[in-house]
Symmetry: C2
Subunit: 281 residues, 2 copies
Amino acid sequence: MAEILKGAPVAAALTDELAARCAALKARGIAPALAIIRVGERADDVAYERGAIKRCEKVGIAVRQYLLPADTKQDELLRAIDGINADEGIHGCLMFRPLPRHLDEREICEALDVSKDVDCMTERSLAGVFTGAGRGFAPCTAQSVMELLRHYGINPARKRAVVVGRSLVIGRPVAMLLLASNATVTVCHSRTNRLEEFTRGADIVVAALGRARALDEDYFEPGQIVIDVGINDAGDGTLVGDVDFDSVEPLVDAITPVPAGVGSVTTSVLCAHVIEAAERR
Amino acid sequence: MAEILKGAPVAAALTDELAARCAALKARGIAPALAIIRVGERADDVAYERGAIKRCEKVGIAVRQYLLPADTKQDELLRAIDGINADEGIHGCLMFRPLPRHLDEREICEALDVSKDVDCMTERSLAGVFTGAGRGFAPCTAQSVMELLRHYGINPARKRAVVVGRSLVIGRPVAMLLLASNATVTVCHSRTNRLEEFTRGADIVVAALGRARALDEDYFEPGQIVIDVGINDAGDGTLVGDVDFDSVEPLVDAITPVPAGVGSVTTSVLCAHVIEAAERR
């Protein structure tokens, strides 16, 4: 029986800490605020937005919503971002992606002031994740993996970490964050031969390949810590991870559930980035 | 007896190809040019500069030297870079680093137009190495590893690559380039436990830890390809790599010598970046 690494206690602990820091900022006359840009009405975005707003309320962060129609023009969106950049009362900006196809997403992302880039949409933030220089912020989901490990007392230093998946949203950033924490890090992907040899040899496995229950008990060994970043539709409307929880959980030392694992931490990390951005000013 | 992967044939083949591309550019009225900024008279810089100028001559690239005294002021250097940015006749810029301590190196590096950043001194170029998006250019030494593998017909795809060292100049960029070539990549470093287990399990080992002869025969197995990026003073004035060549060479399938290995390819890669920058215009 593995320890179940639930996200809610991580989020709760973070929220308490952040609420105190937010109160301290307000005592100094700084009211942390997050701008949320949503173009269109995609259901996933609306649901995440609801969760983010609720979390911000708990922490004490003000939210300013920029809700734009799906046919918003490039220059309108750029103007909105210019306004956010210029507004000293806004400390961070979350924009839902992908944007509708008629928009040049790269140009729009790059328009944001890196100091307000709390979910790593600019190249400069990504460069910071790569260099460890710490301007900008890591993608919230990648950072959530690190917060979860920290909360449960798992220090990646000198451990063997295997990241399955090399996306720019999760795989590569989380690999860099683990490396910065002194883990020895292997990045596996769809072209990896004998993936099971890599995952079985790891102390920590981060699954971020985006395929429902792709990693079953053949990929794991006793003693391992399994962090499942996947959120996939099982086909019957239920959400499942990249790891086959039912067969893997009895085998390993610790595992995150899906849902209620890593995904439950992301809005707290978003708030942490907003608070930190406000503190840096 | 291993195959000795010498750098000179790689450089020669690259130079021939680049000379043809340079001639084609000149036929279109474009004369590729490289600006070299050197602050002070450090012997290593002067020696590398001499090699770079010679290589540029062979390819047909014009060189403009900016030789500045060691006590150059921040704004003088920034003005030089502004001039290079504004000059449409200059396609690339190499600046020797580290700069003298009284200068803010980060600010100066970031001042360079990313399209002329042929040795990856800007954050945006580094971000490109991380994302694979390909604006800017990878650091010349990291790219030289890839050119050397390509020249000798070694395709990293689906292979196990282990990079020893996580510097921003070599370790991390070369890991990203190998990953982009579909290798499964592990980054090891000074905090890696049982390093020999990682290196022995690899198909390709890239040694970039910067310690003379640190990896001896205990770290290798028959059948491996060893790329040694280290250049260290052996203590007696001779240059040696990070790999103990004499004990490892009889064991493995292929190995780069030091000197005359990876280091012999870098000026050709520098030229390749200048030609590519000129072609992109």
